[in-house]
Assembly symmetry: D2
Homo-oligomer: 136 residues x 4
């Protein structure tokens, strides 16, 4: 299994006065990596999923270890794998690193829902197949 | 024990196209509630803690349940209690609710560090006393 | 004429590595002051305006002087006056200051539109009356 | 003269409930395009400029026309030219477009300063040469 991989730039507006990425910004990075995963790996823009298919993957639980700070100017590699693939639930793991040093290890559990009702909905087969290739 | 309480407004710029608070923004709310806690309950602005005393409380772990969405225009009550108070480690629990409905239950573990070295540092006694009053 | 007045806190997550408010954040402040103006002065939450009346005030032009930096921990007073009140167009001026020192002088021109069509729409009389009290 | 060009993705977390890019986010785009300009065109990361040379380019004036909304999922082309190149002052113009449609036309005037004192400082020759190639 080969994780999905994308790059994140720690920009000027992301760091706090101590020069390290302000933690809420790190959750923006996670969402951006998630959008890249949809675009590049799944082959569907997350935007189109919401707008055309009326389904989405809201977060129900997050469990995050902040291991090392990310600094202004760092280029961070995000690797995404799948740690849970239920009928509707999708657990994605994000490991952020700079060289050999792991900065962040996050497990984000989402549920596929119909946007109208927010009721859970089975993950469509074509998408499920893409997440299967990322199963740990 | 009476939790520290503060109010959060879900503003225009915080919600996603589905009309609910974009999850990284929720971590901004948590940090803002944390800053209010310092300002109002501890009696020290978090800014001054960093600038004058050279110590801070970076996040090392977060464990968050997203129970119900927060919508644009909602006024959310945040209640903060302390679930862990070690020599250097400080665990704060944030429960966000709208009326009787809980939206979020977050456990955020921080460690008191010297900013220069990022080495752990004992939580100063005067501050520890304030967090003790919030122990669950 | 008495300007509408509200307070802005320069928080931890708003400042850049040089310790001053990152300029895009300043535009968040302007929008927050605008939302406060609606809520407190006009007596209508901007949210309800959009959701219930189907009208909004998108920005068409901004002209901003950045006179002095705002630092982490600053408490800034925002004063809002009205420099233009046409059939549909609404020009609001935001002056931000700390003590006697002006930080920012911004002229933001918006147009009242129907959200469905984004066509211009006459500012409703009741709201117009409130903006008249702020005319320079 | 060939403008510097970069691409901006309008992401999930950038749009407001009306589905269009929240205007303060647009100023984030401008700053990101500015950082790209430094990195790719000037050949110096803006981060390194601040950290190693102790100079920066704070904004003193912005004049922005918002011509057409940018929607969630849009891929926007930003073109940057130079409309002013004084001893210390640098005026950059950002035109954002989607296909043939211009969304934004922004003139951002910055001044080269020493970060320590915030006093103006002559733009170093090597950088000036790079901005000259973008003069309108």
């Amino acid at each position: 299994m080969k994780p999905f991989q994308t790059q994140i730039d720690v920009r000027f507006g992301h760091v706090d006065p101590a020069g390290i990425a302000y933690f809420p910004r790190i959750f923006d990075y996670i969402h951006e990596a998630f959008e890249e995963l949809w675009d590049v790996h799944v082959g569907k823009r997350y935007y189109h999923l919401l707008a055309e298919e009326g389904i989405g993957f809201p977060l129900v639980h997050s469990d995050v270890d902040f291991k090392n700070p990310m600094h202004f100017g760092d280029r961070v590699i995000a690797r995404i794998t799948c740690f849970k693939l239920g009928t509707s639930s999708l657990g994605l793991r994000y490991v952020f690193s700079i060289g050999d040093s792991v900065c962040l290890d996050a497990r984000m559990t989402t549920v596929c829902v119909e946007l109208d009702t927010l009721k859970s909905f089975p993950i469509p087969t074509a998408y499920r197949a893409k997440f299967e290739t990322l199963l740990e």
